[in-house]
Symmetry: C2
Subunit: 347 residues, 2 copies
DNA sequence: CTGAAAGCGCTTACAG
DNA sequence: CTGAAAGCGCTTACAG
């Protein structure tokens, strides 16, 4: 039993199949009565146009493929969710293709396979592999991208969206300094650039306040990697505040710190990045910067759609603003350890 | 600049385009020298067959669409990851379509839109919406499914994979009882059936041991819903052990318990389900049942592929076994509160 | 306003 | 072993 075709509908409606095509494509020159007749037949037979045939004819596939280094880490996964929602609402099919490594050959292969005639692309470029994939996309392919915060605005002709990491990291760092901490340590997630804007925002806030700038600890994305960094921090009595590149890192750090007998926030304050669903329920609940990747994913799809519809100016819709969510993993600078009243207090 | 077609390759190789088709389809009757000639042209021009044309011709699309109620909860997300990996390795494109609700109309629509001529389907049916989607798939569509543990084996002609929830829950419950707990409370995640096999395994273990069977607490999937249940447990001094339907629930429960001043495992033991990446790094590290959804996703794809290739018998490969991971959120039954030595001890 | 024709890129019987 | 023909379902200029 072959699916219903345009010819079946035509036969049922008593018109030629070209007329059916015009109806389903909202062509203006169809008599209203004819249109209704055809529409009735379409509904009756449950006709769905064959995507492959449309694409072969050179039409748009109304599909996006999301090219991403990952599908399980929070940011990627939330972005994918937002894209899927927006795409589905627009009647687009969504594909997913993981870029496994940053080897040039594999990146090129992943990009080539993600491109289908008539289709479009969204690249999630939050690390090296993603950024290389973005660069490998041929210029004539309809696409949009979620990128790491650029140092300078790339201009309106780049169909890119991002979150303001620099501002967000600055805000979190300043908050920690306002609590009395002398400085803030930083745990970096991988970046496609030598220093991410997230890291730049942290450094900038420290420098503005005249605070010393500790060497950032280079981590991965996972709790395990935060755990390792947490051990380093636990052995440094000077460390009283840490900003972590994501909440998973913060989770690992907190575990290492707590295990080493350091109290949070009694001895050391911890701030994360993302506000994953778990963060509110950690003990202590995690202070973190909320990053709405799902909304950003929706914005990215909107940008893609605008490009496909050849709107002259790409819409610079409001992208979500990062927001510092203060919970219980942060507190004032602890009193000096094991000492009685300080000299200053005694004066 | 139009993509390279079979005709371009033919011209470059000095053969007819039909011969090119034979080469790319591994047709036996092509002279070796001709094959090499054509292959060289293919490599040279970077030819990639047009999927749409193949599909239109009635061929296989070599694509899967994953029909799922969700893309962000751990089990779904890990399953999707496994499917994507396996599909990519097999040269399949993967699509994702979320079934937003369990309303019959919307389920039917989601299924209809996920089906493309030549394509195939994987349904993740771990809740009501997914199960309805599975039932709505027409019988002649190539597909496989990840389902909730069935009460009885549905037989080898159903292309379904699952994890043994009953056994897993039984194992976790027995472990808790072996620690001396008089009974184990249960926090249920949503199920497509009235009582899931996960719940049945828990109940069975309790009954075998002659332990009382408390009413299960019906929860959702999220930490927040576990948090609410945790409040209930915190106010019940008899509750000394809980088995949670997933790790997110366990996270919320632990937070509520800890906030209420109950020690874990000092006052109450908590066990989760899933072994998400966070679980090892919670404080205390969570004892949980490891469920390898990524591997199950790979197995599901393998099953789909076997069906597509019309292997007579579907392979009953080994599906991953649940494994109890004992960490620090579980411990012995606490001594009775605020009492001195018991009479028994005094004898 | 509507119908007949051509063609998108491919595969598969049919000739040779 | 290889080439010429037909046709998958659709859209779009071209007639009428």
């Amino acid at each position: 039993m072959r699916p219903v075709s345009i010819r079946d509908v035509a036969a049922a409606a008593g018109v030629s199949y070209q007329t059916v095509s015009r109806v389903i494509n909202d062509h203006p020159s169809v008599r209203v009565s004819t249109r209704e007749l055809v529409q009735a037949a379409i509904d009756e037979l449950g006709f769905r146009p064959n995507r492959a045939a449309r694409v072969l004819r050179g039409g748009p596939a109304r599909s996006v493929t999301v090219l991403t280094p990952n599908t399980s880490l929070y940011g990627y996964q939330a972005a994918l969710q937002g894209i899927e929602e927006a795409a589905r609402a627009a009647g687009f099919a969504v594909g997913v293709r993981v870029v496994e490594s940053a080897l040039p050959r594999e990146v090129a292969d992943a990009v080539a396979r993600a491109i289908e005639p008539g289709g479009s692309l969204i690249v999630i470029a939050h690390d090296k592999a993603g950024t290389m994939a973005l660069q490998a996309v041929p210029p004539d392919i309809p696409m949009a991208a979620m990128v790491e915060t650029p140092a300078t605005d790339p201009g309106p002709d780049r169909p890119w969206v991002w979150l303001d990491d620099r501002k967000a990291a600055g805000q979190a760092t300043r908050y920690l300094l306002s609590l009395g901490h002398r400085t803030v340590h930083y745990l970096a997630i991988p970046s496609s650039t030598r220093t991410s804007q997230r890291q730049a925002g942290w450094r900038e806030a420290l420098e503005e306040a005249g605070a010393p700038v500790p060497a950032p600890l280079q981590c991965g994305w996972t709790p395990r990697s935060g755990y390792a960094a947490g051990h380093v921090l636990a052995s440094d009595p000077e460390a009283t505040a840490v900003l972590c590149g994501n909440d998973d890192l913060a989770l690992g750090v907190m575990r290492a710190l707590l295990k080493a007998g350091r109290a949070i926030p009694g001895d050391i304050s911890v701030v994360g990045f993302d506000d994953t669903p778990m963060s509110e329920f950690l003990t202590p609940p995690l202070t973190t910067v909320r990053l709405d990747f799902a909304e950003l994913g929706r914005a990215c799809f909107a940008l893609l759609l605008a490009g496909l519809e050849r709107k002259d100016a790409l819409p610079r819709t409001r992208w979500p603003e990062p927001e510092l969510i203060i919970r219980e993993s942060t507190g004032p600078l602890p009193a000096p350890r094991g000492s009685g009243p300080t000299r200053a207090a005694g004066t």
